[in-house]
């Protein structure tokens, strides 16, 4: 008997071989695309996936109605009869077919034009997935700072507590240590602390898959600062639905007025969305029949603000204080909402 096969190692070696072949140019980048296109030419439209151009191309090919039905037959007489029938009715078939073909061509043309408009729209407002690839980073959260606020907000909660997006799982660990049945999701795969359940998933996708009332509490961070406003509005609806009666929704977010300061220029410029003000979350969650309040606000650290001048004129001190209020609104906040 020979040694047991190390399948993991074998698959890794196969993968390395594929990468080597691709890098060497043995397998041109468009080779597999050509195989796909050839398949798409012959497969039914529902079998060729979601490639918009391929589907429209197929629709255009199908828009033409062939009026010449095949007349071949293994039996000579049957073939003759078929040809006679075709000759007798071809004028009517052609008349109808021209109208059907014209209608189909107009529809496919309209779909092409619509596609161009969507392309143009996406240039103005790119879909979130494209932006994430361009510059987003994994969510991070200062669990030490937020932990006490969140633990206090979840007092009396029973059932599972979900933190989305949980980053490296630090807050999940803190909540688990505090006795909550906590787990996290994050779109960026990363190593979680031992014994901490962290799944790789988008917050909204994960919430959509949960039954209503499945959670004791939901803590939202990260996603609430980068999703487009439409997605945030939907997030409020979904979040409210997924917590059980008496459960909590906690939103931990940067304030939009100070949000850019903590981000790289690339991340800030390419973000598909911006955080909302705390009052907006109170409004959105309140509209879902949750009782929402601003539970905490964190100011910008003193060493980042304008400093008072010792012994200065009171008017100058008042101006500095006023400037600090204008230039440095609260850096972040926590909104806590309870499902009645």
């Amino acid at each position: 008997m020979t040694d047991v096969i190390d399948h993991r190692r074998l698959l890794d070696e196969i993968d390395a071989e594929v990468r080597r072949r691709r890098a060497s140019g043995d397998l041109p980048a468009d080779f597999e695309r050509e195989l796909d296109l050839a398949f798409a030419r012959f497969a039914p439209v529902h079998a060729i996936g979601d490639d918009f151009d391929q589907v429209v191309e197929r629709a255009e090919q199908s828009a033409f109605v062939d009026v010449l039905a095949p007349t071949q037959s293994a039996q000579p007489l049957v073939g003759h009869v078929k040809r006679l029938i075709r000759k007798a009715i071809i004028w009517e078939v052609r008349y109808v077919a021209q109208q059907v073909s014209g209608f189909s061509a107009a529809i496919t043309r309209a779909v092409r034009l619509l596609g161009r408009r969507v392309d143009a729209l996406e240039e103005v407002a790119p879909p979130p997935a494209r932006l994430r690839a361009a510059g987003a980073t994994a969510a991070s959260l200062d669990a030490g700072r937020w932990g006490p606020t969140v633990v206090a907000a979840l007092e009396g909660v029973s059932g599972r507590v979900l933190h989305a997006e949980c980053g490296d799982g630090a807050l999940v660990t803190l909540l688990a240590d505090a006795g909550f049945d906590a787990y996290g999701v994050d779109p960026v795969e990363q190593a979680a602390p031992a014994g901490v359940e962290v799944r790789t998933d988008e917050a909204l996708d994960h919430l959509d898959a949960l039954p209503d009332g499945a959670l004791g509490a939901l803590v939202l961070s990260g996603c609430v600062e980068r999703l487009p406003v439409g997605a945030l509005a939907r997030l409020a609806v979904v979040a409210a639905a997924k917590v059980a009666a008496g459960g909590r929704v906690v939103v931990l977010s940067a304030d939009p007025r100070g949000w850019e300061r903590g981000r790289s220029p690339v991340e800030a410029d390419l973000a598909s969305g911006r955080p909302l003000r705390s009052d907006t979350w109170v409004h959105l969650l309140g509209a879902q029949q949750l009782q929402a309040t601003v539970a905490a606000e964190f100011a910008v650290p003193d060493d980042e603000t304008l400093q008072p001048v010792p012994g200065a004129d009171p008017a100058l001190a008042a101006n500095i204080s006023r400037l600090n209020e204008l230039l440095f609104p609260p850096a972040s906040y926590a909104v806590v909402a309870t499902r009645r």
Binding site: M1, T2, D3, V4, I5, H7, L10, L11, E13, I14, D15, E17, V18, R21, R22, D26, L27, F31, E32, L35, A38, F39, R41, F42, A43, P44, V45, H46, A47
Partner: protein
């Protein structure tokens, strides 16, 4: 005397479920039970072996009669036996996911959906669900079956040791003299078997490793639309001389294909068990397969199980199997051992145990 009669949507005496039913009947009769096979569709070669299901009659049979439904698709037979007063068992071979058929054969997709509906609705009326794999058992559980057991499909792998068809063997041998390896896949030509993915992989393999490689796709047409597409696809890729669609072939010819092949490649999206993989392993043919549905359970580490089936990955895996002598030996030895797990003797013993325990529980 007690009886367990089998009911099938279609009884084809040469396909996997047909031969399973024949072996099951022999085993049941060997246990001292009366057993007949009833079906809706009975193609000609099987007409002496099975009876039309309507001939079972309308009157209730005497006590101690059970009806065993071989579930593989939607069928009027399922509704027929559901309306019968006799206690029932289900032997589940899996039902193809409808969405895999829908673009190609909408009516087959409807049958598949119907089959899954019937399977769910029978759950509360069935005494025991017998699955041919753990994967299928999990589906039975999900459908609401409480009492379930696994007994592998009954297939006579030793019976595959028929003499190869000399003409087919000679033809394949002549092609081999010009160089190039021979890939084989056996199974109905149908969308969920994804023969087109094997063709794509062959195209990549010929480009990267072996421009003379050939592919033999053995199996009857499971979808006319898919077969037609596949033929045109092969031609469009310039592979008409390299890919053979043999259609359904007799056992001797099939044996020739197994003997001539260098590797068995299965990229199916859906398999409830996959008998051809076991046949390949039994006949010392290394297996490269895509890890889907019940395939990992059937292969059980005795083949190269791929997590992706893009053409380059499959091509690289096949190349590795064909050029790494030590790996090939390991795969062949592991495959032969794995196939032995599904020998007719072992599977029959398992089937006998499951039925015997069931009858004992029933006090029969």
């Amino acid at each position: 005397m007690s009886a367990i009669h089998q009911f099938l949507p279609t009884f084809a005496s040469r396909d996997a479920i047909g031969t399973h039913a024949l072996h099951a009947r022999r085993i049941l009769r060997g246990m001292g039970l009366e057993s007949e096979i009833y079906a809706e569709g009975i193609p000609r070669p099987g007409r002496r072996q099975a009876r039309p299901y309507r001939s079972f009659g309308r009157r209730p049979t005497p006590g101690g009669t059970w009806l065993l439904y071989q579930s593989s698709t939607g069928s009027a037979v399922a509704d027929f036996i559901r309306a019968r007063p006799e206690p029932k068992l289900v032997n589940y071979h899996n039902i193809t996911t409808a969405s895999l058929f829908a673009p190609w054969e909408p009516h087959v997709a409807v049958e598949c959906r119907e089959g899954r509906r019937q399977l769910r609705e029978m759950a509360g009326e069935v005494e025991l669900g017998i699955a041919v794999s753990s994967f299928n058992e999990a589906e039975l559980r999900q459908a609401g079956y409480r009492d379930t057991a696994v007994a592998p499909v009954l297939v006579d792998l030793d019976g595959a040791d028929v003499e190869p068809d000399p003409e087919v063997l000679a033809r394949l041998g002549r092609a081999k003299r010009d160089g190039g390896s021979d890939w084989l896949f056996v199974g109905r030509v149908a969308p969920h078997k994804c023969q087109h993915d094997v063709v794509r992989a062959l195209a990549a393999y010929r480009r990267l490793y072996d421009p003379h490689a050939r592919l033999h796709l053995v199996g009857g047409a499971g979808s006319g639309a898919y077969v037609s597409m596949l033929e045109r696809y092969v031609a469009a890729l310039g592979l008409a001389g390299a890919v053979t669609l043999t259609g359904s072939v007799p056992a001797a010819a099939l044996r020739s294909y197994f003997r001539s092949a260098d590797v068995f490649v299965c990229l199916s999206e859906h398999e409830g068990f996959c008998v051809p993989i076991v046949e390949a392993m039994r006949l010392s043919l290394p297996v490269v397969a895509f890890s889907s549905t019940a395939v990992p359970e059937t292969v059980a580490g005795a083949g190269v199980l791929l997590e992706a089936k893009d053409p380059a990955t499959v091509a690289a895996a096949v190349s590795r199997v064909l050029t790494d002598g030590a790996l090939r030996t390991q795969l062949v030895e592991a495959g032969v051992r794995r196939a032995a797990d599904f020998s007719l003797d072992r599977s029959a013993r398992r089937f006998t145990d499951v039925i015997g325990k069931f009858l004992a529980d029933q006090g029969a």
